[in-house]
């Protein structure tokens, strides 16, 4: 077990193309870090650099107290679980797990003890004599896990290990991976594009985009205070509403298309004319009560009934193609008519502001984030 330090690491292809750009992450011993981002964001490349399967162009990776830049993958004391399991098709389950240990010259009895123990933990005991092709997807996944566990490595590396499984099994394995990691306390780096996996597994979440770490923090922190419009849009399902707006008037109001919105009455004034992005999560809007003044109106265009929730899709009033699209999460019992006008109230402190050009978060003082009730004016 060990901490992992990733220090200003970059991966540069063919001289100019930066697949990973100057990333630094400190991972304390026993922590579960999830790298999440869209495909092509460099998360897998970063993981493979830690594994030693990809050379490190710039920067330093250390495992424990040892810099591993030039160290062979087999000598890094890591174990990796691959997306397609990468089991050896010609070996029995037992040999798949024992292979790495045999190559390290471990005594036979010790190998046997470890393999049987891992098999017991993963409920694979009855499958030890089978070959991978005779196993189901979930069982193969377990074998891949077993192969990692028997090594008792310093670091577990997971490269989208669940994406080949069906939804139900994925949920089950997710819990299992989390429990195993907690039980063994092994430092883990987990790559996924699935934000549910990312949120539920991570101690620390690293949201990546275009080779850059957009934000590093706890899942809740990332959810509550996204550092950029990209993170805001990527984490959370359905995605946060990101509404293009321009600062108006005295710098405390926003123009959204034809409507005027003033959610940040006490915020430090922003220079008028500055383009910004207003971020509102679908779950932070609710239907206004009968006598309540609405922050904005939604013209409903479609409703997705999920049972527990109903998602209302539409555009901010006055509607039409020019108006900003908006998704609102409503209780499951709400029935909506297409074309209906839905008065909405924004939860206090729940709106986010991002710079219109850089996409970075514009921090507002804690007290300043209360939306001004009844501040919606129509042009």
């Amino acid at each position: 077990m060990a901490q992992v330090h990733i220090e200003r690491v970059s991966k540069i292809y063919s001289g100019t193309q930066r697949a990973v750009n100057d990333i630094s992450i400190d991972i304390p011993d026993g922590e579960f870090v999830v790298l999440v981002g869209p495909s092509g964001c460099g998360k897998s490349t970063l993981l493979r650099m830690v594994a030693g399967l990809e050379s490190i162009t710039e920067g330093k990776v250390s495992i424990g107290d040892r810099v591993v830049n030039g160290v062979d993958p087999a000598e890094r004391d890591i174990a990796m679980v691959f997306q397609n399991y990468a089991l050896y098709p010609h070996m029995k389950v037992y040999d798949n797990m024992a292979y790495g240990l045999r190559n390290r010259g471990m005594p036979k009895a010790e190998i046997d003890r470890r393999v049987r123990e891992a098999a017991k933990t993963l409920e694979l005991e009855h499958l030890l004599e089978r070959r991978p092709r005779e196993l189901s997807g979930g069982q193969r996944q377990r074998v891949a896990m077993g192969r990692a566990i028997v090594r008792s490595p310093k670091v577990f590396l997971f490269d989208e290990p669940l994406s080949n499984l069906d939804a139900k099994l994925r949920g089950q394995m997710r819990v299992e991976i989390r429990n195993l990691q907690k039980r063994f306390g092994v430092t883990s780096i987990y790559v996924t594009h699935d934000q549910v996996e990312a949120m539920t597994l991570a101690d620390t979440l690293v949201v990546m985009n275009n080779g850059v770490a957009e934000q590093i923090g706890s899942p809740l922190d990332v959810y509550e205070r996204p550092a950029s419009a990209f993170v805001a849009g990527f984490i959370g399902a359905p995605a946060m509403n990101l509404i293009e707006a321009v600062v108006e008037g005295d710098g405390r109001a926003l123009a959204v298309g034809a409507s005027r919105l003033a959610p940040f009455s006490h915020s430090p004034a922003l220079e008028p004319g500055r383009p910004v992005t207003l971020g509102i999560r679908p779950e932070h809007l609710r239907r206004a009560h009968a006598n309540e003044k609405a922050d904005m109106d939604l013209v409903v265009s479609a409703a997705e009934i999920l049972g527990a929730d109903t998602l209302a899709h539409g555009r901010i009033a006055p509607g039409g193609t020019g108006a900003a699209p908006l998704i609102v999460r409503l209780p499951g019992n709400v029935r909506l008519e297409t074309g209906a006008r839905l008065p909405l109230v924004l939860e206090p402190g729940a709106a986010h502001l991002f710079d219109g050009e850089t996409g970075r978060r514009i921090d507002l003082a804690e007290a300043a984030v209360a939306p001004q009730q009844a501040a919606m004016a129509r042009a």
């Binding site: 993958p73 890094r76 990468a86 050896y88 098709p89 190559n103 192969r147």
Partner: protein, 293 residues
């Protein structure tokens, strides 16, 4: 539930007909003819034939010359198949590992395959030419007076080298595609599990390559046994007296040069039986150890 039935229609047989016709005309008929004439003593000038029972077989099998050729054929086949496979495998593994300029490197190695076999054979023979052949020259640096077509062992050497050289390109292509069909992640998992590249090759890569290797063993044995005919013909320069030949070539020699059609037929029947047994052995015993994933 009703089963789909074709009844006693002739249509399925009609579909099979072209294939059966081809096999019949080009294999069953000549093979049957060979079996028949192996029991006869043919008059060299075509004036009829005499039934002699198993005499032809007895003659062939008790012939010391035949035994010598058979032993050479075994050596020739084993050496050609082994070296053609081993060298191609090494080249394929190396080509597979090349990242930069991989395409041009592979194309260079495959080029030989694009040359028509007789031309390539001729090139091989030029390399061993008594007067201009660079290999003969190189051999002379080491004090080896290489005399292809004159010295039995020198000819055998040149034959094997050329036969191997001709076959490497084909084997290379198959091995390379076999290597590239091994999932990258499996090899990467092996890299994490095993430090030694050599050990990794024999414990992971090679076992996964066995379907390709098995197929190539069959192909190469067939190649060495039969397809080297033209090469041997060119190398021995129509003077097979003191030169090594294989069984297939001897069938041709005895039948068409020696006009011993009965004896040569008996030889081809024996050869047919050998190939038949060999194929069964290969599929029964080798395939069992092959990992089809």
């Amino acid at each position: 539930m009703n089963k789909v039935r074709f009844g006693h229609s002739v249509i399925p047989y009609l579909f099979l007909l072209p294939q059966i016709l081809i096999v019949a005309v080009f294999f069953y008929l000549p093979a049957g003819e060979a079996v028949r004439s192996s029991f006869y003593l043919e008059d060299p000038f075509g004036f009829g034939s005499t039934f002699v029972g198993l005499d032809n077989y007895r003659d062939v099998l008790s012939n010391a010359e035949y035994r010598r050729v058979a032993i050479f054929t075994v050596w020739f086949t084993v050496l050609v198949a082994f070296f053609a496979l081993a060298i191609a495998l090494v080249l394929a593994v190396k080509a597979d590992a090349v990242l930069r300029g991989a395409k041009s490197y592979r194309t260079l190695l495959m080029w030989v395959y694009a040359i028509a076999p007789p031309v390539a054979g001729l090139l091989g023979i030029m390399l061993f030419d008594q007067h201009v052949g660079p290999i003969v020259k190189m051999a002379s640096w080491f004090g080896w007076n290489l005399r292809v077509g004159v010295n039995y062992h020198d000819t055998a050497f040149a034959m094997i080298v050329t036969a191997v050289w001709l076959q490497i390109a084909v084997n290379f292509i198959f091995f390379l595609s076999g290597l590239q069909s091994i999932p990258r992640s499996v090899r990467e998992a092996a890299r994490i599990d095993c430090r030694s590249g050599f050990r990794r090759f024999w414990t992971v890569t090679f076992p996964l390559l066995t379907p390709t290797a098995f197929f190539l063993v069959v192909i190469n044995i067939t190649y060495a046994l039969f397809d080297t005919f033209g090469l041997i013909d060119l190398m021995t320069k129509n003077e097979p007296g003191n030169n090594p030949v294989t069984l297939v070539y001897k069938v041709f020699l005895d039948g068409f040069r020696g006009n011993d059609l009965g004896g040569s037929s008996a030889q081809s029947v024996i050869l047919m039986a050998v190939v038949f047994v060999l194929t069964i052995v290969q599929f029964r015993f080798i395939e069992r150890r092959v990992h089809y994933s």
